[in-house]
């Protein structure tokens, strides 16, 4: 092992506050020259203790707590939560509610993927694309605001149905918006596919093999970008997804380009789903009543968040508060995969590869990855950090 220590290996910590990371996480890289040798992540920075808090609040309060597990995929969190509680109570939401849920979930998927595409462009240093995508994302945000009343946390799904209806006028506006958005999407697809500098940065970068992806239990677009056709919407359909025809987008190459293309294709697909759902929305009520106290039971609830599979496990105990709510977010499932993807690439590729799984750490906040082969930890303890700080930041005014 003496040979290894002679190599110029040095550690670069990235985070918890770093421009590439919109959220706090500590990534510690072992770098050999310019090549990443090993990755360690510590996302405890966003751990807030939500699972414990759910046990102290009633089912209604928990809707909004779970909505704020993650601000970007807030819709799917409320949906999977409310779907789970409905299953616990043995209540079926009315058909129209199911369609409304599907519509705003797909709108959310578009907004999330557009957001991600912008952030990915930003990580590549392509700020113009970032600004353009976000400009057009505002279109979707306006539609979401029109339908739900808020830009980000929609509070749209509730236990027993949907809280707000979609009027014919709103439906018309959504369709018009989707039409415009599709045209803009064509432009961006062209840019990503043709621009030489973008291609240089994304083709054959952050490769993941389908075998490895399945083995590390990756989910969602990260898995689909390796060509594995898995999507909870198709495999375990919930809400109205079994009545709506759609394709599961996959891309075979497994690099960052594939991650981008899968998400772009999903945006097209989501626009189609929205159009179809608006056309086939049944008339009728949008809510049913659900009892305040829920008898002892246990269920699981799954849904396809923009980032992959979202999973809730519920256990009720006959009171107004749940006995146990377990939340498994997609980013947690994808982090081992991204650590695998990063190895062997340049420092310059950290931002884009890490961003390529669309990390949503606030969801996760419960994870630290240490390479299991080497079984060594480089988590800096508080003491080490303070020593480093004392050494370094003993600054003075002049």
């Amino acid at each position: 092992m003496s040979g290894e220590s002679e190599k110029a290996v040095f550690e670069v910590p990235v985070g918890p506050q770093h421009p590439a990371l919109k959220e706090p996480i500590l990534l510690l890289f072992k770098i050999e020259g310019d090549i990443i040798d090993d990755v360690m992540a510590r996302p405890a920075y966003t751990h807030r203790g939500i699972e414990k808090a759910t046990e102290a609040r009633n089912y209604i309060q928990n809707i909004y707590l779970c909505e704020r597990v993650c601000g970007i995929c807030s819709g799917i969190h409320t949906l999977v939560y409310t779907q789970g509680v409905e299953r616990l109570a043995g209540v079926e939401p009315p058909p129209r509610a199911k369609y409304i849920r599907v519509i705003f979930l797909e709108l959310e998927r578009i907004h999330s993927h557009a957001l991600w595409l912008g952030v990915a462009a930003h990580e590549l240093g392509f700020d113009t694309l970032f600004y353009y995508v976000w400009r057009d994302r505002e279109l979707v945000m306006d539609l979401l605001e029109l339908v739900t009343g808020n830009r980000v946390n929609y509070a749209m799904s509730t236990v027993g149905g949907a809280r707000r209806d979609i009027s014919d006028e709103a439906a018309h506006q959504i369709k018009k918006g989707m039409e415009i958005f599709r045209r803009r999407l064509d432009v961006y697809t062209g840019v990503v596919e043709k621009d030489p500098t973008v291609r240089k940065r994304v083709v054959d970068v952050g490769k993941l093999s389908p075998h490895k992806a399945v083995e590390l239990c990756a989910v969602g677009p990260t898995l689909r970008a390796t060509g594995v056709k898995r999507d909870v919407r198709a495999d375990d359909p919930y809400q109205a997804y079994d009545e709506i025809p759609f394709n599961v987008a996959t891309y075979p190459t497994g690099d960052v380009l594939a991650q981008i293309m899968v998400r772009v294709m999903e945006m097209y697909e989501a626009a189609n789903i929205i159009d179809y759902a608006l056309d086939h929305m049944p008339k009728g009520p949008i809510r049913t009543k659900v009892p305040w106290n829920i008898a002892p039971n246990e269920v699981i609830s799954r849904g396809e968040a923009p980032r992959g599979e979202l999973f809730y496990y519920f256990k009720s105990n006959g009171t107004e508060k749940p006995e146990r709510v377990k939340i498994r977010t997609p980013t947690l499932a994808n982090l081992p995969a991204v650590c695998e993807m990063l190895k062997g690439y340049h420092i310059a590729e950290i931002p884009i590869v890490f961003a390529s799984i669309d990390p949503c750490l606030s969801c996760t906040g419960r994870f630290a990855f240490i390479d299991e082969r080497h079984d060594r930890s480089w988590v800096w303890t508080g003491e080490q950090l303070r020593a480093y700080r004392r050494r370094y930041y003993k600054w003075q005014n002049r």
């Binding site: 751990h47 807030r48 970032f130 980000v152």
Partner: protein, 143 residues
């Protein structure tokens, strides 16, 4: 005269550092949205900076988790004077929906001083700009 010029320049050139102290991302994407063409705060001379050394205003989103507390203090210390803190969202204000969770400090002001609170969950981008304008007003009034 000289002081007036300095004050004027401070009001006209507030550079921000975005710090996520354990937020749910909603406020973060709205803070980002504020920079994008629809709202474009570069109109006010605001630039998003990556290094705390270059920043004047620290925009903090999130309910300050226990793990991030020391980092927050450190970032605050690294920022050169004069510095201002904008707490965006109610998590940064009081903990919001995460009050009474075991791993949060319930607000940035429990750890470092805050100049302006922007309520909202998340605040609309307009509300964030309004918060910044309020902060600049405070600067204006301060002698």
């Amino acid at each position: 005269m000289g002081l007036g010029l300095v004050k004027w320049s401070r009001i006209k050139s507030p550079w921000i550092l975005h710090f996520n102290s354990g937020a749910c991302n909603a406020c973060d994407i709205e803070v980002l949205a504020v920079l994008t063409p629809r709202f474009d705060v570069e109109r006010f001379g605001m630039l998003l900076k990556g290094s705390p050394r270059h920043a004047d205003i620290i925009v903090i989103t999130g309910s300050v988790t226990r793990q991030i507390r020391d980092r927050l203090v450190r970032i605050y210390e690294q920022t050169p004077e004069p510095k201002f803190v904008l707490a965006v969202g109610n998590c940064a204000g009081t903990g919001g929906v995460f009050q009474q969770c075991y791993n949060v400090y319930e607000g940035v002001d429990k750890v470092i001083p805050v100049d302006v609170y922007v309520p909202g969950c998340p605040p609309r981008p307009e509300a964030i700009i309004h918060g910044v304008v309020k902060l600049l007003q405070k600067l204006q009034e301060a002698s």
